[in-house]
Symmetry: C2
Subunit: 455 residues, 2 copies
Amino acid sequence: MDENFRTIDKFKDKYLSELFEFLMIPSISSDPIHKSDVEKCAKWLAKHIETIGFKDTRIIQTEGHPIIFANFDKIDTNKKTFLIYGHYDVQPVDPLDEWRSPPFEPEIRNGKIFARGSSDDKGQLFVHLKAIESLRQFGELPVNAKLIIEGEEEAAMNNLDGFIKSNSELLQCDAVLISDTEWFSDDLPSICYSLRGIGFMEVTVYGPNRDLHSGSFGGAVDNPVIVLSQIIARLKDNYGRITVPGFYDDVVELDEIERSVFSSLPLDEEKFFSDIGLKIGNGEIGFSVLERIWARPSLDVNGIYGGYTGEGSKTIIPSKATAKISIRLVPNQNAKDIINKTVNFIKNLVPPTVNIDIKFYEGANPILINRNSSAIQAAISAFKNSFSKEPVFIREGGSIPIVEQFVDYLKKPVVLLGLGLPNDNIHSPNENFDINNFIGGIKASAYFMKEFSRS
Amino acid sequence: MDENFRTIDKFKDKYLSELFEFLMIPSISSDPIHKSDVEKCAKWLAKHIETIGFKDTRIIQTEGHPIIFANFDKIDTNKKTFLIYGHYDVQPVDPLDEWRSPPFEPEIRNGKIFARGSSDDKGQLFVHLKAIESLRQFGELPVNAKLIIEGEEEAAMNNLDGFIKSNSELLQCDAVLISDTEWFSDDLPSICYSLRGIGFMEVTVYGPNRDLHSGSFGGAVDNPVIVLSQIIARLKDNYGRITVPGFYDDVVELDEIERSVFSSLPLDEEKFFSDIGLKIGNGEIGFSVLERIWARPSLDVNGIYGGYTGEGSKTIIPSKATAKISIRLVPNQNAKDIINKTVNFIKNLVPPTVNIDIKFYEGANPILINRNSSAIQAAISAFKNSFSKEPVFIREGGSIPIVEQFVDYLKKPVVLLGLGLPNDNIHSPNENFDINNFIGGIKASAYFMKEFSRS
């Protein structure tokens, strides 16, 4: 393996310059304006995959953005088969003025690659492509490699779901490998074994049929922004506990062993909050910060708008107001059930003076992975050998909705070989990816494939 | 007077085409982007005033937008002196896509002039200029005419205040004439004797120093949008009664006579609400719609924004959220006192998990005008003769902050000779001004000047 690792070090600049090309394409999947960029990104990636040596590379058009599927070669039944998942789409970039360098002009500063998608998920996905490329230089791949790469992970679309459902034969494998999570801290390689699920809704309150002069009507009609605020205010208590009836019915309480593992992790709560500019946090009473993020559900308003939002004043009663709301779920909550309960609760809060419209998107259920599989054991070795550190088991507060599909339809172990770091600023301005984790990740991926091929 | 009226009818097309020129200048005072348009509008207006025959026309630069002052001629001490006030600035135009014709391309449909500012206040102001022009064709003006026209009425600026304070000599007069209010209904000429005051604030809640991933942080930190919503939700009860302590301390309750005058006015509540797309309204228990709008204070959120407001989803915890809030005041509430009480109340609602910033703007106190002055009596005659209808006394829920200054510093009767109609859509898309009220208004203004000059 040492020679393989040296080769990877040698090609660092080549790998980086290829990644930069990938990062320069603004593949923002949730914004229709960028539809052609997403398409362009899919084409670039498919072509790149072919240059690595994949013999069967397909761009599959969907009602949304294209899926890329690739087979390295014909399946050798003597070898284990890996399915590598990733996504080539990225989050929107606003507020743009808070970026130190343009989001689609990658720049290296202090050993980190700054660009939208550098960590989530172009950089982490690219690691596995380069691992395969490097393994190939030493002869035949020790595994059968398949790729399934989507362009809708950051958008409210999920055409991949249908594709997985109808193509479980094509996707058959011994393990699914995903790098789309992060380490517990900068020097602690981590393997994630649980993800929160997600539900999403957009609530619009409609009042008068046009913006009204607040002098001529104020006091006699309800104000949609105030009604929406009153609804939002009633969704959580002062400590972040969600007030939707039945919301916590299916939440599995943590056992004492997991609580003690959580509490042994080196979390400096003061630093955790000061890093994000806060003195203190807020959350459910009786739970630590990690428990709140990893093993308790949460509800957030992601955005709100209504009425006059320009500079200065405009004294109107707005005709409508909208809030985007996301809910994070934990085992064994069911996304459909929770969305249903929340929508019904909101509907009951609406006074007869306004109308309401609630759009909701199918969410993802939370995930719990068996920590004893041979795939997970191979991942532990890979991290130990590539980063010279014993990895830890962690959970993740975020969601990778597609993991649920792999679990449900392929019924094979999923390995979350995350390479992100806590300050990668994913979904925020100045997203970045540590070059050490990029190169170390390529080594870990190569090591993992060899190791698992022998298990 | 009949000949004068016939002349006014004859020049209708000329008056309209001049008004159109005035309306085509997008003098949006609250938006810095339009600063040069406001300047251009002031210049156009000053030039137009000179063509009418004003011998002394001045454009007075301020820290904000220019004030126009004009004297028709040297003061003849045998004549009464009128000061006509108006404003040449207009409200912003968004949402632009709801306009049937572009806001700054005046268009006549169904006998109405559609354009931003047509009613509020360019059209109503122009009435008096054309009245003077028409009176002048029959010889000397029966009055000394002065104009004071500002460009900041729709913005959170008030350089006119300072000008009035330092120039009470220059502005000396026997009555102030203002057309910036509306009739009770389409066929009921109305004289307004009371205005609500106004206070304005912009509240921003600051949370984390950047937008956070709602998966990685949700459940452990407070969400600025939710905190702002909780604050807004606590400002009013379910019936629109404001919960700020001491808010109603100085409110003068209506006496039985005024309540009975209000209730005799032909308000079709069902139509009132259906015109604005509502089945029912909402407001303080124990008060009629007119009482709520005219004689009770109100609080509205004019706009709110925070986090992701684009299409689709972006599952973040926003770093901040802002609400624009306006308060309408009634006699004898004091704007400074009410703003102070509201700001303190809001500050006490803020949890220690976020920071808050409150910007507030000096408001205007509410106004109550003596209905027995000779100026008001002349206004009654003018309306009766120009529109062949007995006018009614009404109040107005809106505010004309400058009226307070005229009352305080000039100490002369103020006549609110409003010419707007209830469906003029001021401050909204498709603002319009009825041509009959434009032409009839010119007659009423001319009649009023003659009548008052004899009193």
